[in-house]
Homo-oligomer: 156 residues x 4
C-alpha cells in the first residue's frame, strides 16, 4: 500500500534578490515541480519566493520552513508553512528535509546552508554561487541545474 | 490565484500505546482526512502512527516533525517527514504548525505539548488526557473530538 | 586537577509577577548561591530576575538562557547570558542544564517546563505551583524549597 | 553594583584534530583566559578540548554548548556544560554567545560557524582556516590571533 517515497529538493539563496535571480529561482522551482518532486525552502522572499512560485505554477507541492513563529510570514506560494520559531537554526531543517539542493546566489546565510549540505553529504548544485567544495557542480542554466541535481540523486 | 489556505490539525499522544488507544488515534486521523485537513504529528509510533495511518487510508496528507535527523525514523504513513534534528524541542513545531490539536493519552511529553497549545492559544480537544485548563474540552469519542476541534477552529 | 563538578539549580516561573512572588524567587536564588550552586534560569524578568538578583547579591554565579538572539535582553543580574535565538524552545535548555529545579508560580510556559522536568526525571520542588505528579513536593517556604531540592539531588 | 560586563570569546574548529592543532587551540584558550575573558566552545573534543584545557590551566572560565542532551559528553575542562539537545543547531548558539571568535582549521561544521559569524557581524580571526570574507584576518600565530581578536572587539 505504501507508495514510492517522495523526493524533496531544496532551493536556497538570498531572501532579497534581483529580478534576474528571482526568475532563475522560478525556473528551478518549475523544473522541480515538473519532475514530481516537492520543493523545500525557507518560505520567505527572494529566491525562496521565486522557486515556490515556479513550483506552484507547475502543479508542484511547496514546503516552507519559516524562522519565525507565524505562518503569515510565508510567501503566498507556500502550501505547507512550518513556523519553526527557532530563527536561523531553521536553515538546518531546510537542508535535512531536502534529499538534494540547488543553491542560488546568496550571502552568509546561504553559505551556512551550503556548509550543512556538505557536512550532511547531500548532493548540491550551484547556480553562480559560493564554491565551497571541489566536487560541487556549478552552472548558469537553471534547467541544467535541475537536471544535474536529479542525476546526483540517482547516483546516491 | 491563491487557493483557500489549508487547515492543519495536530494529533498528540504517547509514542507507545495500547491497541485501544492506537485505534482511537486511527479514528481521529481518519476524521481529519475526511474533513480535507492535513494531519500534523511527531512522525513516530503509537498515537502518531495510528493517526497517520487513519489519515492515509482516507486520502489525507500527513506531516511528521521528527526529533532525529533521519527521515527513516518516520512511521510508514508519513508523506512529508521533516527530520528536525532538534530532539524534543520539535514538540513546539508540532503545535506551531497545527491550527488546532487533538490530544490523546500520553505522559509528560504530551503534557508539555498541551502546555504549549495553551500558551500559543491554539484550540485543543482532549480524548481522556491531561486536563490542564478549564476551557479545554474532553470527550471519549474520537469522532466527536474531530467535530469539536473543527468547531473550535471556526470560532477563532 | 579536575575540581569537584559544579551543581546547577534551575529556577522557573512567570516572566511577570507580583512583588510577593519576586521576593520568594529572590529568597530561592539567595539560598542556591549560599549552597555554592550555579543558578540557571531563562534570563528575563519576573521570577527569573528575582532569583538571579538573590543569587548575585549572595555571591553566586548566574546563567540566563534567553529566547532571543541579543544578550541585551538579559536582566541585570545575569553573569552568563546565552542568547539561544530559538524562542520558547530554550525552555528545554533551562531544564537540561539544571541538575534539579525549583518551580514558582507561572502559567503555561512554566507548566511546559515542569513537564520537561518530569520527562527528563529531574528532581523538582514547587512553591505553590502546578502539581503535575504525585511525587512532586510543594512548599510555601523558599528556604525549605532550597533545602528539599538539594536533598532530592543527593538521593539521585 | 553591576560589575563591568564580561567578555566572551568563542573558539571553533574540528572535533578531531592533530596534536599540532590541539596545541594551537591550547595556546588560544590560554591567551583568552589571561585576558580575563570567558571561553565559549562546542564542549567536545579536538580544538574545543584544546582551547578549554588552555583556558582552565590559566585560571579561565569555560562554557561548552553541547549538541547532545547529556552533560557527560563535555570534555573534562568545561566548567559550564550546556546540553542543548538541538544537535548541530547548537553551532549558532556558540556564535551568538561569543562577542568575537577565533577559528582554527575544521571542516564543514567550522565553515557553517564562520558563515554565522559573518552573518551576525561578529569579529573573527582565523588561524589557517577557511577564508570566507576579505575582511577576515588570518594568522599562523595563536598569540597574535588572540591579540587581533581583542583589538577587533575594541573597535566595535
Amino acid at each position: 500500500m505504501k507508495k514510492k517515497s517522495q523526493v524533496f529538493i531544496g532551493v536556497i539563496g538570498a531572501g532579497k534578490c534581483s529580478k534576474k535571480i528571482y526568475d532563475l529561482a522560478f525556473e528551478v522551482g518549475a523544473g522541480i515541480a515538473k519532475k514530481g518532486a516537492v520543493l523545500v525552502c525557507g518560505g520567505l522572499g527572494g529566491v525562496m519566493e521565486g522557486a515556490a512560485k515556479g513550483a506552484k505554477e507547475n502543479g508542484g507541492l511547496t514546503l516552507g520552513l519559516l524562522p519565525g513563529d507565524e505562518k503569515i510570514d510565508a510567501n503566498p506560494y507556500i502550501d505547507i508553512p512550518i513556523p519553526t520559531g527557532i530563527g536561523e537554526a531553521r536553515n538546518l531543517l531546510v537542508i535535512r528535509t531536502s534529499d538534494a539542493v540547488v543553491a542560488l546566489p546568496g550571502r552568509y546565510g546561504t553559505l551556512s546552508e551550503l556548509a550543512f549540505c556538505l557536512k550532511m553529504d547531500k548532493p548540491v548544485v550551484g547556480i553562480s554561487t559560493w564554491q565551497v567544495a571541489e566536487k560541487m557542480k556549478q552552472t548558469k542554466d537553471p534547467q541544467k541545474a535541475v537536471k544535474l541535481v536529479f542525476q546526483a540523486l540517482k547516483k546516491k
